[in-house]
């Protein structure tokens, strides 16, 4: 196509102007303490800060009445670090969710002896503030998420009866202090260790079907309580205030850094924040919003997942996740949930169909994002620079729904955005003891376990 001379002129002029603005921006950054924000923008900024009452926004407490109960949190803390809950006693939740990496593992996808795991290990910090767990939201609480991790062959691989037996063997007192008397599981004909309706262990479903209804109920009760203790612990792990929050707290309504405060962000970071919030250009805030910098909705940005279009099946994300969510036995409306069905708004009105669910993944939090590399559901991007390069030129394919458009930012703007993202590290708002393998005194343990816990060093 031949371009029109007038159009060319306009485009050139536009590029010139944009360039000039860019140069002016670098050459004459606004003075510190000056008004950089309009009142409206200050109001928006405040919606992004971590509020005092962040715990009240927890979804976990909707379905898990042990959320916020200290004994349950302590018990959950131990279970989270307990390798004896995995079938071969070699793996705990912390094997993939390392506290010092904001509970991620630093790998594109975890190493697995069973089927390959195709998804990246997400942070758990602040996950309790989301209605959805996993990249595809196939679980709707931390406790029900934990139940999948316990039984999944890729993670702990422990059939649910065995989970109950291991807890009875090792954590009886702790369990009973929170949940009341444990059933007597000693009759192995009634409680075959490998029984489960939903585990990868061969014939576990047959064994489960042979159990009496009553015995299955008893196992389910202990199993779900184990999940609730773990959920209570995880729900505690909310992000602490970062430099970004300090900056917002230092602004007055007119957008000036108040007297007696030093700007917690430098000019470059502020420029990045401006881009982040700009609904006309970068538009990050349209998905990464609220105190967690996530709407926790499902969006498609078409990030590569390493699948080869000829050989592999592309990860369709939410489209499949929502089907699993509605079918799973531990959702908000199940009898194990502490919510009444009419309290389950998110589940009751969930979008179960539509082309926009295909390839959509849960918008991840950006809190502590510098610690959670690699990025995206597939772990394809090694660093934030690669992420931003992708947003600048996302993969737009014919007939594939995508919720982002090319940013078309210049390199120094991408650097500003990255500088801003680096200000979101605030760590986790709990005392250090919660971020280490807990002491195991008073817990019956095997020798191997004792040796290992004492050598874990965060």
């Amino acid at each position: 196509m031949r371009s029109h001379p007038l159009l060319t002129l306009c485009v050139t002029a536009l590029i010139g102007i944009i360039g000039l603005i860019g140069i002016l921006n670098i050459a004459f950054p606004e003075g510190e303490g000056g008004t950089i924000w309009e009142e409206q923008e200050v109001a928006i900024l405040r919606t992004l800060a971590i509020p005092q009452n962040i715990m009240e926004q927890s979804y976990e407490s909707l379905t898990n009445r042990y959320a916020g109960v200290e004994e349950a949190e302590r018990f959950g803390h131990r279970l989270f670090f307990d390798e004896d809950l995995s079938i071969n006693r070699e793996r705990s939740c912390a094997s993939c969710h390392h506290p010092e990496k904001a509970f991620t593992d630093g790998l594109p996808t975890p190493i697995s002896e069973a089927e390959p795991i195709t998804r990246n290990t997400p942070t758990i910090v602040g996950s309790g503030l989301s209605a959805w767990q996993f990249w595809d939201g196939r679980r709707d609480s931390l406790w029900s998420q934990a139940l999948e991790s316990l039984e999944s062959m890729n993670e702990h691989g422990t059939p649910r009866t065995l989970v109950a037996l291991r807890v009875a063997e090792k954590h009886k007192e702790e369990y009973e202090a929170v949940f009341g008397t444990l059933p007597d599981f000693s009759d192995s004909r009634r409680f075959p260790p490998f029984a489960s309706p939903d585990s990868g262990v061969q014939d576990s479903d047959v064994l489960w079907a042979q159990m009496s209804e009553e015995d299955r109920e008893q196992v389910n009760l202990v199993f779900t309580n184990v999940g609730k203790a773990i959920g209570a612990y995880e729900a505690k792990l909310v992000p602490a205030r970062s430099r970004f929050d300090e900056y917002i707290a230092s602004l007055n309504d007119q957008g000036e850094v108040m007297e007696g405060h030093k700007s917690a962000l430098n000019q470059k970071e502020i420029a990045g924040l401006k881009l982040f919030m700009d609904e006309e250009s970068a538009q990050c805030i349209s998905c990464h919003n609220g105190p967690m910098l996530s709407s926790f909705e499902f969006k498609a940005i078409n990030a590569p997942d390493g699948s080869d279009e000829h050989t592999d099946r592309k990860d369709i994300g939410r489209k499949e996740g929502v089907i699993k969510l509605l079918a799973q036995e531990f959702n908000c409306k199940s009898k194990f949930s502490d919510a009444t069905p009419e309290m389950c708004d998110e589940l009751n009105f969930v979008k179960a169909d539509g082309m926009e669910l295909e390839g959509a993944f849960k918008v991840p939090t950006l809190r502590n994002v510098a610690l959670t590399a690699p990025y995206m559901h597939s772990g394809v991007f090694n660093n934030l620079d690669e992420v931003l390069q992708y947003y600048n030129r996302p993969m737009i394919e014919k007939g594939v729904h995508i919720d982002v458009e090319p940013l078309k930012l210049v390199p120094h703007q991408l650097e500003q955005l990255e500088a801003f993202l680096m200000t979101l590290n605030g760590g986790i708002a709990v005392e250090k003891e919660w971020l280490q393998a807990p002491p195991m005194e008073g817990v019956k343990q095997n020798k191997k376990y004792a040796a290992e816990t004492s050598s874990i060093n965060f």
Binding site: I285, S286, S295, D345, F349, G354, E356, E405
Partner: protein
């Protein structure tokens, strides 16, 4: 959707509003401030069409028009003079046409009385322009109220257009 056409769009919206104002009267009220409806439990939006002899009153409950919060709306459908219809049905839908997606939830319409409905499970998952469709069916006549609203963090709600068709 993006910066380049933003200016143009503004103009189109402005003229759209003037155009539709001619045939639709709408009023928005909330106790206290005028159009800051977000989260207000006692806010009311009313839309009237003389030619269709139709008045639609929308009243939010908790989190009315807030972003990222599931909310339930009461919708009353009546004749212009306030008289209830005997048989009326309503279907609700919406989305963000400029982003190519529908509602992020599956809202459900429930009939309370002959002319009062509750729409449960509305959610606005993103700032920007949303279109909402209220299809009112009375016997053989179908009337659609299309609302175009703009929601942003920290800003007041803007009703860009309201149109009966």
């Amino acid at each position: 959707m993006r910066s380049g056409i933003g200016l143009f769009k503004g103009k189109i919206f402005l003229s759209a509003v003037t155009l539709f104002l001619a045939s639709v009267q709408f009023s928005v009220s909330a106790k206290g401030e005028d159009s800051n409806l977000e989260g207000k439990e006692d806010a009311v939006m009313t839309f009237k069409s003389e030619s269709h002899d139709l008045a639609i009153e929308i009243q939010g409950k908790r989190h009315f028009l807030a972003l990222n919060k599931i909310q339930h709306w009461d919708v009353e459908v009546a004749q212009i003079d306030g008289e209830a219809f005997s048989e009326v049905e309503m279907v609700f839908d919406g989305g963000m046409p400029s982003h190519g997606h529908g509602m992020p939830t599956t809202p459900k319409v429930m009939k309370q009385t002959d002319s009062v409905f509750v729409i449960k499970g509305i959610k606005f998952s993103m700032p920007g322009v949303w279109e909402l469709y209220f299809d009112i069916k009375r016997g053989d006549t179908n009337v659609r109220l299309t609302l175009e609203i703009e929601l942003h963090y920290g800003k007041k709600l803007k009703i860009l257009s309201a149109r009966f068709s």
